[in-house]
């Protein structure tokens, strides 16, 4: 609590700041305008209330109030276990703290803000009870398979790796696990977040979350092992087979080859040869490629040609060991299969950055991504704080996103997508669930009179 006061004092000092220059993508002054005018409080509140809006007798009016939020403030001051009774309390807290980052945690058994009151009862009343199933995919984990950027940088040549990850995971979450309410969000800089919001997903235990995460695990990152993907067995599991056939193979041979020319230099192809367990085949291919080093073909064409040679060689040795037959698939998986940070998904109480936050390094808003049109998503075209502020300045003070022309404003489009594609169907099914569980409850109380 004392921390908050300190921060509030800081707020007063900001007033004297000179008018910031427009070129900067991110600064506190802009952030305050953003939180004051653009951040979609009502939508976030509606989402995280999951239909518990107090209108139905079966509602749990304290549901939203038991959700943990945490704020990262300027100078890395970190406030955990904040909770808000309703949308306006949340709005006030955000407007007075203007956090650099807002994280969303679990819904707890009791109000997180009052957890200390329960701490000494000994029975551990303060436990997480619900939480979206979340996934976090980060482009930095792909550094060994992209040659355009490294670290936190991302460009149009490596972003498609994220796109294919979204396709693979989104399809499996829907087709295999039967989830319907899935929100994909740009993390603001170098990756994507996924929120699975179906009631069933929110109630998964840690053990069940781990199971889902492990279902997606293929990549076993290890610097000391050239072969990072091991697809054992005589055939691919249907999930992997579908991912391979529908997404990964074409992506590898098409877009990825075009962007990264995976075989164009010795350094690049040696990495791939290392994944072939048969030394004769390795030597054979290496010989061919060393000789063709000075051909007149373009990098991309050379790369494609070599891939065809590799495939032909491996697949012609039909009678050889099983491990060679899966080798082509293994190479494709190594380069293209989603590399999820699985630990984030396994624990109910793991925090994840809220949608519509602004990334302090890039100034870009964490906007939702439409998984059905994720090919069109361009991380470098996501509106930045300064663009949004400029838009406000030039358009006067008309910032209400409910306006008819919200489509035309930079953020309006994203908010509209969030509402129509995610929020509305979600709330519809939440209300149905509340209604039906209310009915069962009524029926049960009637029954209980009999015994």
């Amino acid at each position: 609590m004392t921390r908050e006061e300190i921060v509030n004092n800081g707020e007063d000092m900001m007033i004297d700041d000179p008018k910031p220059k427009i070129e900067n993508d991110f600064n506190v002054h802009y952030l305050r305008i953003y939180y004051g005018n653009l951040f979609p409080y009502t939508d976030i509140h509606k989402w995280l209330s999951y239909g518990h809006d107090g209108k139905h007798p079966g509602c749990d009016e304290y549901y939203f109030g038991r959700r943990e939020f945490s704020f990262t403030l300027e100078n890395d001051v970190y406030l955990r276990y904040k909770s808000f009774k309703n949308a306006s309390v949340m709005e006030d807290a955000i407007k007075s703290n203007f956090p650099y980052k807002i994280d969303i945690g679990a819904v707890y058994s009791v109000d997180p803000d009052k957890r200390h009151a329960y701490a000494h009862s000994g029975t551990n009343l303060f436990t997480p009870v619900e939480r979206e199933l979340v996934f976090d995919i980060d482009i930095t984990d792909y550094d060994d398979v992209r040659y355009c950027c490294s670290g936190a940088d991302v460009c149009s040549k490596c972003w498609p790796l994220m796109t294919v990850a979204i396709k693979v995971i989104d399809t499996s979450l829907r087709e295999d696990f039967g989830f319907k309410h899935i929100l994909w969000v740009f993390s603001g800089r170098r990756g994507v977040h996924c929120w699975v919001c179906d009631a069933k997903a929110r109630r998964l235990t840690n053990e069940q979350r781990s199971a889902v995460a492990e279902y997606f695990r293929v990549y076993k990152g290890n610097e000391n092992n050239a072969k990072k993907v091991d697809l054992m067995g005589h055939s691919l599991h249907p999930f992997l087979a579908r991912s391979y056939v529908d997404f990964l193979k074409n992506f590898f041979e098409g877009e990825l080859q075009a962007n990264q020319s995976l075989f164009s230099s010795e350094e690049k192809y040696e990495k791939i040869l290392g994944m072939i367990t048969d030394e004769d085949i390795q030597a054979d291919l290496r010989g061919k490629w060393e000789n063709s080093a000075r051909s007149s073909l373009s990098e991309e064409a050379t790369s494609r040609l070599r891939w065809e040679q590799l495939k032909k060689t491996l697949q012609s040795k039909k009678n050889k060991a099983l491990s060679l037959r899966t080798c082509v698939e293994e190479i494709v998986f190594t380069f293209t299969y989603p590399r999820i940070d699985l630990e984030v998904s396994k624990q109910m109480n793991h925090l994840l950055k809220a949608p519509f936050c602004v990334h302090p390094k890039t100034g870009r808003v964490c906007v939702p991504i439409d998984p059905n049109n994720c090919d069109e998503f361009d991380p470098l075209a996501v509106p930045t704080l300064s663009q949004l502020i400029e838009e406000i300045n030039s358009g006067g003070l008309r910032m209400d996103v409910d306006d008819d022309d919200s489509d035309r404003s930079l953020l309006g489009k994203s908010i509209k997508f969030f509402r129509s594609s995610f929020l509305e169907p979600l709330l519809k099914s939440c209300k149905e669930e509340i209604e039906s569980s209310y009915k069962t409850k009524i029926a049960k109380t009637k029954d209980s009179f009999s015994w």
Binding site: T123, N124, E175, D176, F177, G178, F179, K200, L204, T205, E207, Q208, S210, A211, V212, E214, Y215, M232, G233, H234, S235, L236, H237, P238, F239, L240, A241
Partner: protein, 489 residues
């Protein structure tokens, strides 16, 4: 289940064709002698504690199979099969009563019984496993007809991805005449006969919500479609997963009902008979009681300071140091340390002298004789009801609730992290050893934390684990004495 106080043995011999792995679906109508009520429960508790220890030590499933087999043989096996089954069932239902009484107890019991069941099931032959599954009457829909037909290819892929079955074999199974018959006759058969028939052809696939078979999902061992896992009745690992899930959910519900019965009727009705037994069982300690000091435990006053540093577990060392420092301990501390000292062989006279020496510095000898000496003689069975009291075991110390001014209890549980770390480093733990210990503490494995401390200090493994401060003392003395050369130089 009726509990009787009779010496005459009326326990029925008419246990009818129960399989050797009961599902404990209903309490059987049998009479149980009061002694057995407690003894059987204690034996089962030893098994469950062993399972708990094995899991906390991270044993893999195969090692757990072996462990469970050994534990069962050691504590539960009786030569007469039907008597063994009786013991199995009785002990389970008694412990249900014992462990239904709080959420913490319930949770522990549920996971240990489930683990026990899982490994006992794994140890059975496939025929017996099938019989058990049949008895459960799994509440899942079997996949048949066109649905099965449409999934056949993918199910084959899953099987082959696990390297278990060729597509041809699957083809043969699914087109076998018996399966065909089962499907065709379905409208005319009872549900159970249908499932028996289907089962007989090993071809059954169950449609199960994926979250009920997390281990199969994690290993990609099943086909998933729209939230359902297609679980093969013909595969042992699939079967285990299904049955264990059922077992767990059934027991979980049953514990809630038992709790209701316990609080509304049983506790009051049995307050003079079963209730004390039940209430004592959950904190009972199962090793030797150390009421008689053993060969290693025989210390005299002059050694006590040195021995306290070399061989006392942290809880006792702390009490001992506090006593020397403050010349006083509150009641809980006097009991915990006093009985421990009795266990390590401090004679009554020495004990009186020991406590007197400290307490008189604070309260004077007159008050000591009047207020404290009695309690010490009482502990040694020389006063009052003359019971020879036994030293406290870890389970009792861990569950004690030290208040303000108290120093007793288990440091691993009751100390703050900083205090514990400081205390451990005074015991000579390296920072690496310390991290391991703190890790166990954070996961609430206090006895394992103590065991790891022991292992770090003496540099040997302690496979049995620490269950009792006096055991810690004895193990430590054994090691120290074996290291001391026979003739000091």
């Amino acid at each position: 289940m009726e509990v009787i106080r009779s010496q005459k043995r009326t326990v029925s011999n008419d246990v009818v064709s129960t399989p050797t792995l009961p599902l404990y679906l209903t309490a059987p109508p049998m009479e149980v002698r009061l002694e057995e009520f407690e003894l059987f429960a204690i034996d089962r508790l030893r098994v469950l504690k062993g399972v708990s220890d094995g899991l906390a030590r991270g044993r893999n499933p195969n090692e757990m199979d072996d462990l469970v087999e050994t534990l069962w043989k050691e504590h539960m096996r009786l030569s007469d099969v039907s008597e063994m089954i009786n013991k199995d069932i009785i002990s389970h239902f008694v412990l249900r009563l014992v462990y239904c009484r709080s959420d913490e107890l319930k949770k522990w019991f549920l996971s240990m019984e489930t683990a026990l069941f899982r490994h006992r099931f794994r140890l059975k032959k496939i025929e017996e496993q099938r019989a058990i599954v049949g008895e459960f009457g799994l509440p899942y829909k079997a996949v048949i007809g066109t649905e099965l037909e449409s999934l056949k290819e993918k199910l084959g892929l899953v099987a082959r991805s696990l390297g278990q079955i060729s597509s041809d074999a699957l083809e043969i199974i699914s087109s076998s005449p018996l399966s065909y018959l089962a499907v065709k006759l379905k409208p005319f058969l009872t549900e159970s006969f249908f499932s028996f028939l289907s089962f007989a052809v090993e071809n059954i696939y169950y449609k199960v919500p994926f979250e009920e078979v997390p281990d199969l999902v994690a290993g990609r061992r099943v086909l998933l479609q729209k939230g359902y896992a297609f679980v093969a009745g013909s595969q042992a690992s699939h079967l285990v997963s299904l049955v264990v899930t059922q077992f767990r959910s059934h027991l979980s519900k049953a514990l809630i009902l038992t709790n209701r019965k316990w609080t509304t009727t049983i506790r009051e009705r049995e307050k003079d008979r079963l209730t004390p037994i039940v209430e004592a069982l959950s904190t009972s300690y199962l090793g030797p009681d150390y009421s008689q000091s053993s060969e290693y435990a025989d210390i005299s006053l002059k050694d006590i300071d040195q021995v306290s540093k070399s061989s006392f577990p942290l809880c006792m060392r702390h009490l001992f140091e506090k006593l020397r420092e403050d010349h006083h301990l509150k009641h809980g501390g006097r009991m915990q340390l006093g009985l421990f000292l009795k266990g390590v062989g401090l004679k009554l006279d020495d004990a009186l002298a020991f406590w007197r020496e400290e307490f008189t510095k604070k309260v004077g000898s007159e008050r000591f004789d009047k207020e404290y000496a009695y309690a010490i003689r009482h502990n040694y069975g020389k006063e009052g009801k003359r019971t020879d009291y036994t030293p406290y075991a870890c389970s009792k110390i861990i569950t004690s609730a030290p208040g303000a001014g108290d120093h007793h209890g288990c440091p691993y549980r009751h100390f703050s992290e900083d205090n514990l770390k400081a205390a451990l480093s005074r015991m000579g733990l390296s920072s690496r050893g310390m991290e391991d210990v703190m890790d166990k503490v954070r996961n609430k494995h206090y006895q394992l934390a103590c065991t790891l401390t022991f292992e770090a200090i003496y540099g040997t493994s302690c496979d049995t684990g620490i269950n009792h401060p006096n055991q810690y003392f004895e193990e430590s003395q054994k090691i120290l004495k074996s290291k001391t050369p026979a003739a000091p130089v």
